[in-house]
C-alpha cells in the first residue's frame, strides 16, 4: 500500500537512486585518469596553508578503487533484492511487516507447544506447577500488575487477589472467567432511592455496623429497614453479598473503595463503576489459563508474593 497518490513519485525515487549509485561508479572511472599532458611537474592539490604547506596529489592504491567498485556492485545487487527503488518490492519480497510476522510465527512455533501443554491441564493442578507458576507470574507482571499491583494486593478500586474475599467467586474456573470475559462491577447511585442525604447517612452507619466497625447506633437502627428493602435486592438482606451479581459481602473487613463512613456515603450516593477488561482476545485462551492458575495460587496461602 503506497502513501503516494501518484505512481510518478515511485519512478522519481527509483531514477534518483539508480543515477546516484551508478553515477558514483561513473564518476570514479572518469576521475581515475588524468589527461593534461604535463606529467613531470610535482603535482600538488593546489592549496597552500600557513605560507608554504602544500599537499601532494599522490595516487591512491588500486585496491581502494576496487573496493569502491565493489560497494557500488553491492548497492546494485541490494536494490534488486530488497525494496529501495520507489515502490518496487524487491526480488526477495522483504517487508518489515513480513519480518514481524515471521518473528511471530517463530515465537508461535517455539512457545505454542508449551502453552498448549499447559492449556490442557486442570487449573488446580497447574497452580502447583513451579514452571507454570513462573510463567504466570511473568504474565501477571506484564498485563495485570498495573492495576492490581506487582504484589497482587490491589489498590483502591482494584481487588486484592491474594485474600479469600472474591466478588465473583474464587474457584479457579470463576477466576478464569473473570480474566477472559472481564467484569463490570456496577453499583447504581442509590442516593434518591434511599431517602436523600440523611437516608444515606443512616444506611452507611448500618453498613458499618454489619462488619463491626465503629458506628452511630441510632443512625444504624434507622438505616436497617432501608437497607433490607432496597440494598438487600443485590447485597441480600443480611448483607452477605451475591457472587452472581458481583455484589460485595458487606459483613467482612475488606473494602474495595475504602471503609470509612465518608467513602461509604460516596459509594451509596454516586454509585461505583469498576471495570475489569476482557483479556480473551488480547491474550488468547492459553495465557488466560496460565494466569488463572497463577492468581488462584496466590490465595492459597503457600504462594509467596510475586518475585
Amino acid at each position: 500500500m503506497s502513501d503516494f497518490t501518484s505512481g510518478g513519485w515511485s519512478l522519481y525515487v527509483a531514477v534518483l537512486t539508480l543515477v546516484s549509485v551508478i553515477g558514483c561508479a561513473v564518476f570514479l572511472k572518469i576521475t581515475s585518469v588524468k589527461r593534461d599532458g604535463a606529467v613531470d611537474k610535482i603535482d600538488t592539490m593546489g592549496h597552500t596553508w600557513d605560507g608554504d604547506l602544500a599537499e601532494y596529489n599522490n595516487p591512491m592504491p588500486k585496491w581502494w578503487m576496487w573496493l569502491f567498485y565493489l560497494t557500488v556492485a553491492f548497492g546494485v545487487v541490494y536494490l534488486i533484492l530488497y525494496p529501495g527503488l520507489g515502490s518496487f518490492a524487491g526480488v526477495w519480497g522483504w517487508s518489515s511487516v513480513g519480518q514481524y510476522q515471521a518473528e511471530q510465527q517463530r515465537a508461535e512455533a517455539q512457545y505454542g507447544p508449551i502453552f498448549a501443554k499447559y492449556a490442557q491441564q486442570d487449573l488446580k493442578a497447574l497452580s502447583q506447577d513451579p514452571d507454570a507458576h513462573k510463567m504466570g507470574e511473568r504474565l501477571f507482571l506484564t498485563y495485570c500488575a498495573q492495576c492490581h499491583g506487582s504484589d497482587a494486593r490491589g489498590a483502591k478500586g482494584f481487588p486484592n487477589l491474594t485474600d479469600n474475599d472474591w466478588l465473583y467467586g474464587g474457584e479457579p474456573e470463576k477466576i478464569q472467567e473473570s480474566i477472559a470475559n472481564g467484569r463490570a462491577g456496577m453499583m447504581p447511585p442509590m442516593g434518591e432511592a434511599i431517602g436523600g442525604e440523611q437516608g444515606v447517612k443512616e444506611v452507611a452507619n448500618y453498613v458499618l455496623s454489619l462488619s463491626g466497625a465503629n458506628h452511630d447506633a441510632a443512625l444504624a437502627a434507622a438505616g436497617k429497614p432501608k437497607f433490607e428493602t432496597v440494598c438487600g435486592a443485590c447485597h441480600t438482606p443480611a448483607g452477605t453479598g451475591n457472587q452472581t451479581l458481583g455484589a460485595p459481602n458487606l459483613t467482612d473487613k475488606t473494602w474495595l473503595y475504602g471503609g470509612s463512613e465518608k467513602t461509604i456515603v460516596e459509594t451509596i450516593t454516586k454509585g461505583r463503576n469498576g471495570h475489569m477488561p476482557a483479556h480473551k482476545d488480547m491474550l488468547g485462551d492459553a495465557k488466560v489459563h496460565l494466569l488463572a492458575a497463577y492468581v488462584y495460587s496466590l490465595s492459597q496461602g503457600a504462594a509467596k508474593p510475586a518475585q
Binding site: G37, N58, A155
Partner: protein, 478 residues
C-alpha cells in the same frame, strides 16, 4: 624540498598525443630483508611476549572456570578473581582513558613505540613474514620465486605458505572467540562439528581478518587505513625521540672501499648500500627524514649499524634522536634530560591521577548493587488497618563469589516498616533477584503526598557491605 617518489606507472602516450596517467597505483610488493640487532631482538621479544599472553591466557583456569573470560552470554567479565558486571562499565572506560593517556605519553617521549613493537598489525605481519621467510627463503629467493613461472615446485612452496598462514589465522580466530565464550567448550564444539552459527561466523571473520591483514595487506593498513599514522604529527614535538638519519654525517653519500679515507674523498659516512631501504617493512627511505609511513620499528637502525661496523665507522648513522638535538639546540648526550618537559609532565600527572582513581575505586568496590523501582500505576493503597501501603520492587545484585543473606529495612518516616515479615533475602553467588516489598506507614506520621524514604540492604555476614537507595512514598491527599 626532498624528491618525491611517485608510485605511478610510466604513462603511455595515447595515439592523439594526449598523455593519460592513472591516478590509482598498483601496489608494489615489498620484500623486507631480514635483519638482526638490538631493535630486532626487542621486536622478537615483544612478539613472543604478547603472543604467549594472547594465545595462552584463555587456557588458564580459576577455580572451576576460565580465568580470563569476557562471557557475553552471561554478561560477566571474569579476570582471574575479579568479576565485572555490565554495571561496572565505567572501569572499562577508565581503562580506555588510561590506555589513551599512556599512548600519548610514550609517543611524546619516544615516537611510535606502539606501532613498531606492540601493535597487532605489526606483530602478526612479522609472524606471517617469518613463516614466509622460513618457507620461501630470504629476500632474493622470494623475489626470484615471484618472478619465476608456475612450476610444481613453486606451487608446492606457495601452497605450503598459504596453508601455514591459514592455520595460524584460524587458530587466532579460535583464540579470539575463546575470550568471549569458554574456549575449551568451543574446542569441543569444533571437533564434534557442533559449532553454532555465530561462533562459526566470528572465528572465520577474525581468521580472515588476520590472514588478510598480516598476509596480504601488511603495510597498506599502516599507510592508508590506520589513523594513528596521520595524527602522530600532533603527538610528537621537537624533543620526541624519532628514528632519523644523520644527514650532516652521512652526506654526500656514495660507495667507497673500506680502506679509503672518506674525509679526504669528501664523502659522508653513508655508503649508499640501500640496506636501510631493503629492510623497511613499509618500503620507505629513512634518509628522506621523518615520514608518516615509518612505523618506528628500528630495522633500518640495525641494518645500518651492521654496515657501519663492517666499515669500522661509528654506529648510529641512523639512530634515535630528537629534532632539537639534530638542529644543534643541545648535545645528543643530554637528550634524556629533555624527556621531562611540560607535555610529558602533564600527560604523566594525568595518567597517575586516573590510574590511582581507577585502582582505588576498583579495590573499594562494594560487592552489592540495589535498584529500587516503585510500582507505577498502582500508586498507593489503604490497608484494612488504616495504614497506607506502597509496593516497591528491589533489584538486588550480589556481586560476591559466594551466596549471601541480606537484611532489608526502610527508614525515613516514623514507624515505617516492611510488611508480611519480610526481613531477609538470600541470593546465590553472582546472582541477582527482584524482591517485591510492601512498605506501610501510618498516615498520621505522613507530612504530605510525597515523602522521601530510604531502603537499606545490608549483608548479614559483613555490615560493611551495604547499600542505601532512595525512593518516594506516596499517600493520598488529605
Amino acid at each position: 624540498m626532498a624528491e618525491i617518489t611517485r608510485l605511478v606507472p610510466q604513462p603511455s602516450p595515447a595515439p592523439t598525443g594526449e598523455v593519460e596517467e592513472a591516478l590509482y597505483a598498483v601496489r608494489q610488493k615489498i620484500y623486507p630483508r631480514a635483519v638482526t640487532g638490538v631493535f630486532a631482538r626487542w621486536r622478537v621479544f615483544l612478539v613472543l611476549f604478547t603472543q604467549v599472553v594472547f594465545y595462552g591466557a584463555p587456557w588458564l583456569t580459576w577455580g572451576d572456570r576460565q580465568a580470563v573470560l569476557f562471557h557475553l552470554v552471561e554478561r560477566k567479565f571474569y579476570i582471574f578473581g575479579l568479576v565485572l558486571w555490565p554495571q561496572d562499565f565505567i572501569w572499562l572506560t577508565g581503562l580506555l582513558i588510561i590506555s589513551a593517556l599512556s599512548l600519548f605519553l610514550f609517543t611524546a617521549v619516544a615516537g611510535r613505540l606502539w606501532c613498531g613493537y606492540a601493535c597487532p598489525q605489526t606483530v602478526y605481519t612479522e609472524l606471517f613474514m617469518w613463516i614466509e621467510r622460513r618457507i620461501e627463503g630470504d629476500r632474493m629467493k622470494r623475489m626470484k620465486l615471484d618472478q619465476a613461472p608456475w612450476t610444481v615446485h613453486k606451487m608446492l612452496v606457495k601452497s605450503a605458505k598459504q596453508a601455514a598462514w591459514i592455520a595460524v589465522a584460524l587458530w587466532t580466530g579460535y583464540t579470539f572467540v575463546g575470550y568471549f565464550t569458554p574456549i575449551k567448550a568451543l574446542g569441543t564444539e569444533i571437533l564434534t562439528f557442533d559449532l553454532g552459527p555465530w561462533e562459526t561466523f566470528w572465528i572465520l571473520f577474525y581468521g580472515f581478518a588476520t590472514y588478510g591483514n598480516a598476509g596480504h595487506m601488511r603495510e597498506q593498513v599502516c599507510k592508508y587505513m590506520c589513523p594513528y599514522a596521520r595524527f602522530q604529527s600532533v603527538m610528537f614535538d621537537q624533543d620526541t625521540l624519532v628514528i632519523t638519519y644523520d644527514r650532516k654525517r652521512g652526506e654526500p653519500r656514495g660507495s667507497r672501499s673500506k680502506s679509503a679515507d672518506r674525509i679526504a674523498q669528501g664523502k659522508g659516512d653513508c655508503v649508499d648500500c640501500g640496506i636501510c631501504v631493503q629492510v623497511c617493512p613499509t618500503g620507505i627511505d629513512i634518509r628522506k627524514g621523518l615520514q608518516y609511513e615509518c612505523i618506528g620499528c628500528g630495522a633500518c637502525i640495525d641494518g645500518c649499524d651492521q654496515v657501519m661496523e663492517k666499515m669500522n665507522y661509528p654506529k648510529g648513522l641512523i639512530r634515535y634522536s630528537t629534532e632539537n638535538a639534530l638542529a644543534g639546540k643541545y648535545p645528543e648526550r643530554t637528550i634524556t634530560q629533555h624527556i621531562l618537559r611540560p607535555r610529558t609532565a602533564i600527560y604523566g600527572t594525568l595518567l597517575l591521577v586516573v590510574m590511582t582513581a581507577f585502582s582505588v575505586t576498583l579495590a573499594m568496590r562494594t560487592p552489592l548493587r540495589v535498584n529500587v523501582i516503585r510500582d507505577r500505576a498502582a500508586l498507593e493503597r489503604e490497608t484494612s488497618d488504616g495504614l497506607i501501603e506502597n509496593v516497591y520492587r528491589l533489584q538486588i545484585m550480589n556481586m560476591a563469589d559466594k551466596p549471601r543473606k541480606f537484611a532489608l529495612s526502610v527508614a525515613g518516616i516514623d514507624g515505617i516498616r516492611i510488611e508480611h515479615d519480610l526481613k531477609e533475602v538470600e541470593l546465590p553467588a553472582l546472582g541477582s533477584r527482584v524482591v517485591p516489598i510492601d512498605v506501610a506507614a501510618d498516615p498520621a506520621n505522613l507530612k504530605g503526598t510525597h515523602t522521601p524514604i530510604r531502603v537499606n540492604v545490608e549483608a548479614r555476614d559483613d555490615p560493611g557491605v551495604k547499600v542505601e537507595t532512595k525512593s518516594v512514598f506516596l499517600a493520598p491527599a488529605r
